[in-house]
Every structure is written in structure tokens, then in C-alpha cells.
């Protein structure tokens, strides 16, 4: 194949992948070159990247990314699900990614992927804005490189339809996110922690690779749409199921280490969201309703409930705002997993699907879409509360509502959204879920509802303590204007949440319903084309 064909008439999804990847590679090259110039004392060859151009470059890239992903989504709405194929004559657009034609089906855009990419792009942009303004966690060349690698990897996950492509993009996002995590001290213990962290990440990648290879050698394809029309239930397929789902499930539940940089926390949350996206693709689009998977819905529901209870346990007498944010995120993840279990169980028969399956699926997707904005808001507020001023962390100073009313209000609203308190946006999703859970067991509904109430009580107590509590130490005299540090990103996030709260029907029409339809459209496109050929 002639690689010159890669560039003319390049489709937007490919451009959205190559842009951050190219920028990250360029920055990485400059870094390596500088290290080389330092080592051999060739100062005159050294390339210095100043802070301001770097920040402008990063801002433009993130803005372009939002515009491109938005444009892809708009085009998708009018154009339908499309595969982009790189053949000997350059790029082509088709409805089917048939591997028999020996072409490279590199990119697929469907509703679920396009919507995910837009949501991710907007949150990455907001996180970038926060990172540009952050004076404590200064944005440097390495950080920008890792952010861009994560961005490219995750975007690739949303636009991939092949397991091997997914593996490559998971690796890329792992390199980016792992670069953001590095051990804080040079001690032996720190090194040991770092090594175990990388060992666990290697294990995750190897497990996914093993699952992909099992399916590839059995069916000769790695394309999810094509595999879904051929896959049968047998021991190798079941083993592949576990190997594909478990690593992503772990990445979803334990998305990051303890990080106090809000922008990095947002990127870790983006990665968790992408991990859940891959799980949904494998569970709903690839395997669907196979024999032998009957116990999987119960397992997902069980893991969801365990996550909910764990989140409540971790919040007991906890004061650290970052750990509170982690617990609240774990709570949201628990609800998503429980919703996934219920939706899976509701798709095994037409009657169940009509009664509660589709409702549970809509609940799951709306919880999933909501996860990123709420998680980003929590990251901004909790990392600000963790900030040390005059020798004391802000959350300790008490009476913060007077000094940060905007962030305080945002914290209360975030808690209300997570707990699903009406009329906030989380309510519609929770309402669907409680109704669906009741079809499985009233006890399950009761469990979910009780967990929500307990979380609401605990999180409100924490927020009230921080915002209205008495000081535990001497605060700085001049601590006004704390809100200004995070007001712009928070404002954009709350504009999104307000729109979803005021117009839930429009949100379902635009985001949730097309995603659910796209997830359920398992191999139907290929079957339709094959029937037409006959």
C-alpha cells in the first residue's frame, strides 16, 4: 500500500486521531533531542519550548479537537453509521467493513462512538482550561505530551471497531495516563509501588491481547460487527469473554492513583469512561445474548452493589476531599454496573426488553454520559479544597462558603445529581433504574434506593462541614477570590448540566436514544447486506 494515500481526502475521524498523536510525537521528539543535547553538551542545538507558546499550542489543539468531534457527530446524524477504509486508492467510505476485500477498515463511526467522542472532547477541553490556569501544577512539555497521548488513545477507542485497533488505542491511553502517574519519592518503597503499578498495567494489556487472539484464531476476524454475526458459545469464547472484560472492568473501577492535580484527575476519569465504553461494546455489541452467559447479568449487578457499599464504607469519617471525590465516583460507577446487569438481564426476551430492558439500558447510558461532567466538577472542587494555603489545607479552614460560594453551590448540586435528587439531571436516569430494578427484585430496588439516601446524607454532611464548619487551624487573612481559580471550567460544566436538567427529553433524543440503538444494532447491518447479496 502506498502511504502517500494516507493523507489526501483524510476523513475527519482519522484527522482527530492523528492531530493529537502527531503533536505528542513532536513534543516527545523535542524532549528526547534536548536530553541528547544536554548529555553531549551541545547547547547551541537545544530547542527551548517556552511556557506561553506551549500553552497556546495545547489550547488550540484541544479546541480543534472539540470542533472536529462535534463536526463528526453532526455529519453522523445526517450520514448514518459509516466505516472508513484505507485501500490502494486512498480513503473510502462504506457501510460494511468486509475483511475479505483485504482493505483496512481503520475507523468506524456510529452514534455511540460519535457521542462519546464529543462528550470526552468537551471535558478534555475544560480540563485543559483548568490546567492552563493552574499555577500549582504547572503545565510542562511532558505533561502536554501525556495529555495528548491519552486523548488520542481514548478517541481511537471511540472510533475503533476492531479488537486489535482497540488494543493499540488502549496501549496508547495507558502510556499517556501512566505518564501522568509517577512515584512521588525516590525511595525504595516508591520504586516498588511504581513497578507493581506497571506490572498490573502490563497484565491488563496482555489479558486483552490474549482474548483478542483467541477470537482471531477461531474466526479469522477481529472486527466486532463481523465477529458478532459468527460468534458461538463455547469454552474458548467464554475464556475470551473473561479476558476481554476483566481488564477493562478493573480499569473502570480503579481508574487512577491518588492524584491532587484536577486536570490529570479529569483525564483519568475520561479513561474510566472509555474503559466502560469498551465493556459495553464487548458485552452488548460483540457477545450479546449467548448461551452460557446467563449468570453474567447477576455478576455485574453484584459487582455494582459491592461498589456502592464500598463507596459508602470509604466515606465513613473521611475528611480528605480527594478521597471523598474518589468515593463519589466509585458510587456512580457502582450504579452504572448495576444498571448494566439489569439491562443485560432485560434483553434476554422480548417481553423483558419491553418491560424494563430498554429502560435500564437508557438509564445506564444516561448515567454513563453524566459521569464525566460530574466527575470533572468534583475534581475541580475537591482538588481546590486540598490546596495548601498558609500551611493549612483549605478544607480545614472551615466557613469556606463565604469565600467560594460558586464552588460551594456546585459541590451541593454535584452531590444532588449523583444521588439522583429531583429535579436535577440524575433523577431521570435513577427513576428508570429503580423502575427496571423492581422487575428483577423489589429488594434490589430497595438496596439501590437505600444506598442513594445514605450517600446523600453522608455527602451533604461532608459538604456542609467543609462549607459551613468551624476552622481547625489559623486560616490566611486574605483568602478571597478562591472561586476565580476554577470558575470558568465549572461554569461551562454547569451550563451542560443545566441544559440536561431543563431539557431531559432533548438530551434523551440527542444523546441517549441513538447510543442505545447503536449498542443494540448488533451485526444487523452485516446480516442485511448478506441477505441483499443472496
Amino acid at each position: 500500500m502506498n502511504f502517500a494515500y494516507l493523507f489526501p481526502a483524510m476523513p475527519l475521524p482519522v484527522l482527530s486521531l492523528l492531530l493529537p498523536l502527531g503533536a505528542a510525537m513532536a513534543l516527545m521528539f523535542i524532549r528526547v533531542y534536548d536530553i541528547w543535547a544536554d548529555k553531549y553538551e551541545k547547547a547551541r542545538f537545544k530547542i527551548t519550548v517556552n511556557q506561553r507558546p506551549l500553552k497556546i499550542f495545547f489550547f488550540i489543539l484541544l479546541l480543534l479537537n472539540v470542533l472536529i468531534t462535534f463536526s463528526i457527530w453532526k455529519n453522523y446524524q445526517s450520514g448514518g453509521s459509516t466505516f472508513y477504509i484505507l485501500g490502494s486508492n486512498g480513503w473510502a467510505k462504506t457501510l460494511s467493513g468486509d475483511p475479505a476485500k483485504k482493505m483496512w477498515t481503520l475507523v468506524q463511526v456510529d452514534a455511540f462512538g460519535a457521542i462519546s467522542a464529543v462528550v470526552m472532547g468537551v471535558i478534555a477541553f475544560i480540563a485543559g482550561l483548568r490546567s492552563l490556569a493552574d499555577k500549582k501544577n504547572i503545565l510542562d512539555q511532558s505533561k502536554v505530551t501525556y495529555y495528548l497521548l491519552t486523548l488520542c488513545g481514548i478517541q481511537g477507542i471511540f472510533y475503533s471497531n476492531g479488537l486489535l485497533a482497540l488494543l493499540i488505542f488502549i496501549c496508547l491511553s495507558q502510556i499517556g495516563a501512566s505518564g501522568l502517574f509517577h512515584w512521588a519519592d525516590d525511595s525504595y518503597d516508591g520504586l516498588k509501588e511504581w513497578l507493581w503499578y506497571f506490572a498490573s498495567r502490563m497484565l491488563i494489556v496482555l489479558m486483552f491481547l490474549a482474548g483478542t487472539l483467541i477470537l482471531y484464531y477461531k474466526y479469522g476476524a477481529d472486527n466486532i460487527t463481523i465477529l458478532s454475526t459468527m460468534i458461538k458459545s463455547g469454552p474458548p469464547e467464554k475464556l475470551a469473554y473473561a479476558l476481554l472484560v476483566v481488564p477493562l472492568l478493573f480499569l473502570f473501577i480503579k481508574a487512577s492513583a491518588y492524584v491532587t492535580d484536577s486536570a490529570s484527575r479529569c483525564f483519568f476519569a475520561i479513561r474510566a469512561q472509555a474503559a466502560f465504553f469498551v465493556i459495553l461494546r464487548i458485552v452488548f455489541s460483540l457477545y450479546g445474548l449467548q448461551e452460557g452467559l446467563e449468570k453474567i447479568p447477576l455478576l455485574f449487578t453484584g459487582i455494582g452493589l459491592v461498589s456502592l457499599i464500598a463507596a459508602l464504607i470509604f466515606m465513613a469519617k473521611e475528611n480528605d476531599p480527594i478521597k471523598i471525590a474518589e468515593s463519589l465516583e466509585l458510587f456512580m460507577k457502582g450504579f452504572m454496573l448495576a444498571a448494566m446487569g439489569i439491562s443485560l438481564s432485560g434483553t434476554y426476551s422480548a417481553q423483558a426488553a419491553a418491560e424494563y430492558g430498554i429502560g435500564a439500558m437508557e438509564s445506564m447510558v444516561s448515567l454513563w454520559i453524566l459521569f464525566l461532567p460530574v466527575s470533572a466538577a468534583l475534581s475541580f472542587i475537591c482538588c481546590l479544597l486540598k490546596r495548601e494555603e498558609c500551611g493549612i489545607e483549605l478544607w480545614n479552614t472551615g466557613g469556606l462558603f463565604r469565600r467560594m460560594p460558586f464552588s460551594g453551590t456546585a459541590l451541593f448540586i454535584s452531590v444532588a445529581v449523583i444521588a439522583g435528587l429531583p429535579p436535577f439531571v440524575g433523577f431521570s436516569a435513577k427513576q428508570y433504574l429503580y423502575r427496571s430494578a423492581n422487575y428483577i427484585s423489589p429488594f434490589l430496588t430497595l438496596m439501590l434506593f437505600t444506598c442513594s439516601i445514605l450517600l446523600l446524607a453522608k455527602a451533604l454532611f461532608y459538604a456542609a462541614s467543609v462549607m459551613f464548619g468551624r476552622s481547625r487551624g489559623a486560616a490566611c487573612e486574605n483568602q478571597s477570590g478562591l472561586d476565580a481559580k476554577i470558575s470558568l471550567p465549572l461554569l461551562i460544566l454547569f451550563m451542560i448540566l443545566t441544559f440536561a436538567t431543563v431539557a431531559p427529553g432533548k438530551t434523551f433524543d440527542l444523546l441517549v436514544s441513538p447510543s442505545v440503538h447503536s449498542l443494540m444494532n448488533r451485526g444487523q447491518l452485516i446480516n442485511m447486506l448478506q441477505q441483499e447479496d443472496k
Binding site: K254, L299, L312, G469
Partner: protein
Amino acid sequence: MIFHLETGYFIWNFLGWAGIFLFSALLFCFFIYINVNKNCIIRVKGDEGTFIEFNGSGSGFENKVFLFRTKCLAPWFEKHFCHILTVAVLFLLFLTALFSSFGVE
């Protein structure tokens, strides 16, 4: 009919929503009130207004949960290999669910 709005998926009753909103606001205030009064929180009126004592001793149940967390869970989470252990446990759970015949009618 001015109080009704149809948006494809939902039919909204504005009066109903106003009721829900008021109920939520009441619930919200109730939780704050309970938290402020029950958790060994002391109201102090002074020059700086009304404050809440931060993080009171907590309820007995919360203390027990906290003890369970610190004594039973935390030692495991502090181990460096807990990530690999979690992956292994999840994998075993999935293998059991996929390959065992237990629980299938």
C-alpha cells in the same frame, strides 16, 4: 393544558415538577438539619455568624464502619500488589460465572 409539555420521551407536568422541586428542597434542608443537629455539631453564634463544628465524633455505626475500613480493608489497599490481586479476583469471579453450572436451572 398550559402546564403540560411533550418532548417525545417525556410529558412534563409543570405543577407536578414544582411539587417535586419543593419536596426536594425540603428533603435537602431536612438532611442538612439532621446532620447539623445529630452529629455532635455545636452551633456557635459569634461575630463570624453561625458555624458548625467540623467532623464531630460521628455516630456509633459510622465509627464501627470506620474501624472496619481501617483494620480490615486498608491493610489490603496499602499493599502494592493489590491491583494485580483485584484483577485476579475479578477474573476468577468471571470464570466461575462462565464455566460453573451452579445456579443455572
